[in-house]
Amino acid sequence: MKFVVITLCMFTMAFFFDPWTPLVFWVSVLLLQILFSQIDWKKWLLFMLPFFIMAFGYFWTTLVFAKETTGPIIWSFGFVHVTEIQLDHALSLSLRVLAFSSLSLLFALTTNPVTFILSLMQQLKLSPKIAYGILVGFQFLPVIKDEFIQIQQAQRLRGVVQKKNAIQRLFATRLVLIPLLAGAVRKAERSAFAMEARGFTGERRSSYFHVISVGKVDALLIVLFLFVLVFSCTNTFWLG
């Protein structure tokens, strides 16, 4: 299961503080991504953009606010002195952000939520009550946007005036948010009724219509990932 492997990677990464480990890791994740998955790169860049910025933010705050002030000073401007250890930490933190984010993006962009939940239920024995609860929740996802527009339209039909002013508009969203949530409550109730009416008792099922299995590709990917993980953790020994 992709999910378990990725979590494992993250934890391991969190314990390494030198800049090389995340860097190697990040690069290899990218490589894997290029080799094995069809990802829309434009989308990927768009998603990654905020993380580049964040990485940068981490970089400089660690530089300025870090508590280790020992070690040889390499740069200094004004009264800020940057030591080697600080630079190391800063680089490691920000690269870690990049490694984490590319990893989870890989996960998010290659995983279909519905399959994911079904497989959680089938392989990891998640309670069907929760699993189907979330599934219903997910079906609400594409509808949320429509609902949002619909509520505004209904209000328009009933003669609620649209505010011109941007700030007033912002306040008006509050008028939409509560009905939106109220709609969610009603939808939840209806779905629950419908599920019950279809004989859903919440007990474990004995067979599934869509069986989610761990395929060969998944297994291969897991092995590769573990390899990358081990490789990047041990690189300090290889690269000196």
Binding site: V136, A154, E196, R198, G199, T201, F209
Partner: protein, 456 residues
């Protein structure tokens, strides 16, 4: 013969209301019989059905006294969901009874709940869809089906469980007359074959012929005189214009005009695009074309969509309307004036939406199936209200599957088929044109046939 459902001195009320919806009510349904519950809108029919499938009292914290026995056991001895595959339900609101995305998933979900083996699932799904004549919708997204289609799918979902008892809450309210007729014939055969017990709720009993063995009136309804044909109030001046309305994926280019005071009825088979057209006219769907005027009144097929306020009275008066009390009185909404618009019966919701639109003093009002789920009393009130408004110069475009209502009200008839407006006809030309009627899944109205008989 033993009883599958029996109520002994049952009283029930919702937690926030003082009024008892059911009061010391007793009845029993024998195995293999066909029973229909009738009574005016809001008298508690749907509530009763919810008690029969055990969704209530648990899910609404309702207060229940007396004894309900289902399939020979006390109803409270079942856990939620346990009884529901033996007592299957088709609910009243087509929008409120599905939990999965596509028809196939919905059916598969049901089968999983029954612990059907995987190998059998596919067969059973194919079988039930063939039985209900819905095979073409197997992969459809439920959300995108029309109201009538949803209602039919709901029946398929109930049948796939092979239940012993079938509870039907106004199952044909959204079906076109032709499909409704077939539905009844088909249900008749199915009941005989499977020895089903059927408990249905229905306002328009005459459509069912002698289908039912027994009628259980929940409440005495007042005698209402039959509708009679109205005088036309059409004026010569044009009040509404739609030019080349078209949506991207379904509706083909449509143009028509309406006169001041005209009542036009829009009819056509289920899924022909009536609701889509109305939504496009109100700009609820992205559509190209021109609509004049743009400020329209609209009563949607699912009325909940409109509600904004916390009680019925405010809801009706929302548009700053006039004549609120009178309207509410005539549409029998006075009793529930302080209730929350979402916590009232289905027919009441629809009437609230209608009242709200009639109060606003709009020039042109579009209504999507205002007649479905209404009792005879409400229907006659509605008829008179619309007639009155039309005489004052309001223009109406009304979608309905009720041929009597259409026949008595219509000045002109717009026919739709497969996303296309077949044309606009003077009303009287349509009712006698068998080819047009058949092509659009319509049946000649009873009123007309009676009249013809008396001429003969």
């Amino acid at each position: 013969m033993h009883n599958v459902i029996s109520f002994e001195h049952v009283s029930f009320r919702y937690p926030d209301e003082e009024k008892w919806i059911l009061n010391d009510f007793s009845f029993a349904v024998q195995k293999g019989t066909r029973v229909v519950l009738t009574g005016p809108s809001g008298c508690g029919k749907s509530t009763l059905l919810y008690l029969c499938n055990r969704l209530y009292p648990e899910n609404c914290d309702g207060i229940l006294t007396g004894k309900i026995k289902l399939l020979g056991k006390d109803s409270s001895s079942f856990i939620p969901g346990e009884i529901n595959h033996r007592i299957a339900t088709v609910f009243q609101d087509p929008d409120a009874q599905f939990c999965m995305q596509t028809v196939e998933e919905e059916l598969a979900f049901t089968l999983e709940n029954l612990h059907v083996k995987r190998e059998e699932m596919d067969n059973r799904i194919t079988e039930v869809l063939a039985l209900t004549n819905l095979s073409e919708f197997r992969y459809s997204i439920i959300q995108q089906l029309s109201g009538g289609q949803k209602q039919q799918i709901a029946t398929a979902c109930a049948l796939i469980m092979e239940p012993e008892v079938l509870l039907l809450d106004e199952p044909i309210a959204h079906l076109d007359p032709y499909t409704a007729k077939h539905y009844i014939e088909w249900l008749d055969q199915l009941q005989q074959k499977r020895k089903l017990t059927i408990v249905a709720i229905e306002h328009r009993l005459y459509l069912w012929g002698d289908f039912f063995d027994r009628i259980i009136p929940l409440n005495e309804s007042e005698e209402v005189s039959a509708l009679s044909k109205r005088m036309t109030s059409m004026q010569s001046e044009t009040s509404f214009q739609a030019i080349k309305i078209e949506t991207k994926n379904f509706l083909k280019s449509t143009s028509f005009t309406l006169q001041r005071g005209e009542i036009a009825i829009l009819v056509g088979p289920n899924g022909s695009g009536k609701s889509t057209l109305l939504k496009a006219l109100c700009k609820l769907l992205p559509a190209s074309g021109l609509v004049e005027p743009s400020f329209l009144g609209y009563v949607p097929q699912s009325p909940e969509f409109l509600f904004l306020t916390k009680n019925v009275k405010d809801e009706v008066a929302y548009g700053g309307g006039y004549d609120v009390d009178n309207l509410m009185d005539r549409l029998k909404l006075m009793d529930i004036a302080p209730s929350h618009p979402f916590a009232i019966s289905h027919g009441q919701k629809r009437r609230v939406a209608i009242a709200a639109m009639l109060c606003d003093g709009r020039e042109v009002i579009l209504m999507d199936e205002p007649t479905s789920g209404q009792d005879a009393m409400a229907l006659s009130e509605l008829f008179q209200l619309i007639d009155g408004r039309a005489q004052e110069g309001t223009t109406f475009l009304i979608v309905t599957h009720d041929m009597e209502f259409a026949y008595c009200l219509a000045d002109s008839v717009l026919l739709m088929d497969d996303g296309r407006l077949t044309g606009k006809f003077p009303a009287k030309d349509v009712w006698e044109n068998d080819r047009l009627l058949l092509e659009h899944h319509l049946l000649p109205p009873k009123g007309l046939m009676l009249r013809e008989k008396s001429f003969a």
